[in-house]
Symmetry: C2
Subunit: 164 residues, 2 copies
Amino acid sequence: MPLDAETALADAPPGHKDELRLWLRLLTCTNLIEAEIRRRLRAEFDTTLPRFDLLAQLERHPGGLTLGEISRRMMVSNGNVTGLAARLEEEGLVERRVSATDRRAQSLRLTAKGRREFARQSAAHEGWVAELLGGLSLAEREALQALLGRAKASVTAGLEESGA
Amino acid sequence: MPLDAETALADAPPGHKDELRLWLRLLTCTNLIEAEIRRRLRAEFDTTLPRFDLLAQLERHPGGLTLGEISRRMMVSNGNVTGLAARLEEEGLVERRVSATDRRAQSLRLTAKGRREFARQSAAHEGWVAELLGGLSLAEREALQALLGRAKASVTAGLEESGA
DNA sequence: GGAAAATAGTTGAAGCCTAAACTATCCGGT
DNA sequence: ACCGGATAGTTTAGGCTTCAACTATTTTCC
């Protein structure tokens, strides 16, 4: 069961400012990059990050994905995917097809236009990220990648423990 | 159970710049932690991260802050702060006062209830972060903090360059 | 076969967020 | 004193997001 606030506090001696500072810096870094990517997607392609992410999923799975699979991969609610898919379909970037074997399910795939659009966006996106993180040396990037892997493991372990 | 973006990408396209992998991992880490914090704020205090963040700003400035100052500190639009402030005021956690010297400006400050509520939330929040990042050693946390500082510098340099 | 449970997706209400247009007020230069 | 530009906030339209309630279909199991 989840640790409640009091318990967490009780066996959490002071000195946690340290973890808090780390978290705030992590958040700041991510937000800076994410805000810039959103800004550029909007300015250069008149699109949004969630749309881009959804197209990216489909690009990787040419056979199509069901809305549910997309929802799990993007870690968002399925209601959210319903809306995104509707907008992308209206723009002609994706098409839906009802499953032959399960009439509840429908799979989404890129249209030719969708593939074309995504290719342009994706190339630009990769360049932006490389540009923003280009100030780090290869060694720094590798070290950061490894430490973030450790952080991810720590968080996942924390979630297991309280949520399982 | 949900796949995260990074894992979902792992089976994907060849020819990936390692900056992109680094960015995806950074994003995954942040999102995991942020989602958990949002979930707990909601479950335990029936509040949201933006509300919590706004209260945190006010806590740090007992003399009060104008909406514009809050907007800049939180790095969000001023229209956004208008709405947040209205909701917090309605809950009785903050109060507004029109500036004596500038009739356009109004400053926000915590009410007694707001201070009490925030104290509880803040203590729990600090514990959650410590718990989630507790799997890292002190040395790892320090190294990560430093590398994220480098990353932040790289990003802001990139923004200067393209924005100036 | 048929009831019950699980699964796929949609909808609605509410909050968060932005950009852009708008109102009200202040300030600086002439 | 006044006009024009800056500044403080609000409003509006639209997109993103969640949760919870809902429909439709499939699966499980007796």
